[in-house]
């Protein structure tokens, strides 16, 4: 394993009597997109803010780019890019002014501000006031500000919350682009689809504790091996024949729609072979795979939005 870019062990943080983070340990490696996923109030933002040196942890050890977030705060700020949840800028600051200000703050401005705005699709908005931007444009501007000094590590907190699906997709492409440029990305989200699409690895966090860490595919395989096949057929007497499959069979739609619930990677193949062998005429066929959402449900006993 390469040396981690971020290394956290037994992080804890409370606000008064409220425990925000109880016990978080994780490692993030160079070049990966790492997602901290969990419901609102799980401790995602607090964890991220401790990593950025913005908050002081009560317990545990943190190393980010080999630095101590509190002791080496200034050095760390020059090497990381951050985007905060629900952040704003001055209402009447122009896009180019913000980019210009931010780029003046770093000794090494390796990035050309105008090129960055073009890449983020904000070039025609460079003279617009912040308050006139759409939600997606604001987030793209914050991404620009996070990238202005060409940081090695980028923190993105709930980047697409409140955006419409199209704006969300645009942001996802931008994050993939950041990743392709060799940066390490640490993001938080409560959108499982987002985590599944973007993240190389995720940590599922709830009530301030990490429940699981792994690639989305591994987590699904480990915790939700269930597979479902749904097909429609007019053939008669199917229910009995399907009983020979290692599956729970349910029939609906006046005997034309069959739902087969099984488990394991080979289940779908088995069903396809069976249908072929039995020469069943199928007019519709689909499979359902569990998602991270199901993993979350399994691990916590409730959905992420509840």
């Amino acid at each position: 394993m390469p040396t981690p870019v971020i290394s956290v062990s037994n992080l804890g943080k409370r606000y008064g009597s409220t425990v925000a983070v109880e016990d978080v340990s994780l490692e993030v490696y160079a070049g990966e997109i790492f997602g901290l996923i969990g419901p609102n109030g799980a401790g995602k933002t607090t964890t991220m803010e401790c990593l950025q040196g913005h908050r002081k942890a009560d317990k545990g050890t943190i190393s980010v780019l080999g630095l101590h977030p509190q002791r080496d705060a200034q050095a760390l700020r020059r090497r990381i890019g951050v985007q905060h949840q629900e952040a704003h800028l001055q209402k009447r600051i122009k896009v180019w002014e913000a980019v210009d200000l931010w780029s003046s703050l770093y000794a090494t401005s390796a990035v050309d501000g105008d090129a960055l705005l073009t890449r983020l699709g904000l070039q025609e908005k460079r003279n617009a006031w912040f308050m006139t931007l759409s939600g997606g444009q604001k987030q793209r501007l914050f991404i620009a500000l996070a990238l202005i000094h060409d940081p090695e590590l980028v923190f993105l907190d709930e980047l697409t919350t409140g955006l419409d699906p199209q704006a969300r997709r645009t942001i996802w492409e931008l994050i993939t682009d950041i990743h392709d440029r060799g940066k390490t990305v640490f993001l938080t989200t409560h959108l499982m689809e987002e985590a599944e699409r973007l993240c190389d690895r995720v940590a599922i966090i709830e009530h301030g504790k990490v429940l699981e860490i792994g690639t989305p595919a591994d987590l699904v395989d480990t915790h939700c091996p269930e597979r479902r096949v749904v097909f429609t057929s007019d053939d008669t007497g199917l229910a009995g024949r399907l009983g020979r499959l290692p599956a729970r069979v349910s029939v609906s739609g006046e005997g034309v729609t069959y739902t087969l619930d099984g488990a394991g990677d080979s289940f779908v193949t088995e069903v396809i072979y069976f249908i072929a062998r039995e020469a069943i005429r199928v007019s519709g066929f689909r499979t359902e795979m569990p998602t991270l959402e199901d993993v979350f449900l399994k691990l916590t006993g409730h959905g992420i939005r509840e």
Binding site: H84, A87, H88, Q90, R92, S104, L105, W129, L145
Partner: protein, 247 residues
């Protein structure tokens, strides 16, 4: 020097951002000048020379209003920036906290100076002969007073829970301070307790210093007020570093 560059850039941007909101500009710069003209007319500031009675009170009140509107504007901006996460975002850059807040102070002092120029121009226009000949001395007194009261503004800004309360809480501090500043009732006429309280407030010393410089242009006998204003600045700045909330 990226830091100085950052301070200059941030100050300039804050200036532009401020100017882009016409109502805010009028409230901060225009109202003291309008107040000066209206009160000057009503109380007859132009009727005698620059060092007499109402003709001193009116410009001092207007000058103090300049300082107070700068402070109220500062409190409002800080609470809006805090609520919107702007302070937090700026703090996540290599900018030091002192730089971020200094930019606001410089902007306010700059507009204080501009307001004073407008006040003097209005005075020359409407009340010939009523403006003090000791302008340089008076301007310096106003800037020192504003700086001192602005530092109190940071303490007040720390007490403001949300941006909605910025205006009432700011005004709730400032106007009573103005009432006991000695401008309307002489300190000598107050009860010992009230007088002692008034002497703790920077506005009281600001009034005394502004009056003295307006009348005589001389700082020599005013060291106690200068010291009090500087002390208030030091104490409030020290308190701010402890209680100031960035989010």
């Amino acid at each position: 020097m990226p830091m100085l560059n950052g301070l200059w850039k941030l100050t300039w941007i804050e200036t532009k951002v401020f100017l882009r909101e016409p109502m805010g500009v009028f409230g901060t710069i225009g109202i003291p000048v309008v107040l000066f003209i209206v009160l000057g007319r009503v109380l007859g500031a132009g009727s005698s020379n620059a060092a007499d009675g109402a003709s001193v009170q009116v410009p001092i009140l207007a000058a103090l209003m300049i300082a107070i509107s700068a402070v109220l504007s500062l409190v409002a901006i800080i609470s809006i920036y805090r609520e919107g996460g702007i302070l937090k975002r700026l703090r996540a850059t290599p900018l030091t906290p002192v730089t971020i807040l200094s930019a606001q102070v410089i902007v306010k002092l700059g507009f204080t100076a501009i307001s004073l120029v407008l006040l003097v121009l209005a005075g020359r226009q409407f009340f010939p002969g009523a403006i003090t000949p000791h302008l340089a001395s008076f301007s310096a007194a106003l800037l020192l007073s504003t700086l001192s009261i602005l530092s109190l503004g940071f303490v007040i800004a720390s007490l403001v829970p949300t941006a909605r309360f910025a205006q009432p809480i700011g005004a709730g501090f400032m106007y009573p301070m103005l009432a006991v500043s000695g401008l309307f009732f002489p300190l000598e006429g107050m009860s010992p307790v009230l007088k002692g309280f008034a002497l703790l407030l920077p506005t009281t010393h600001a009034v005394a210093l502004l009056e003295a410089t307006w009348r005589f242009g001389d700082w020599a006998g005013q060291w106690i007020h200068v010291a009090a204003l500087l002390l208030a600045f030091g104490v409030c700045t020290a308190i701010s570093t402890k209680v100031f909330r960035w989010e």
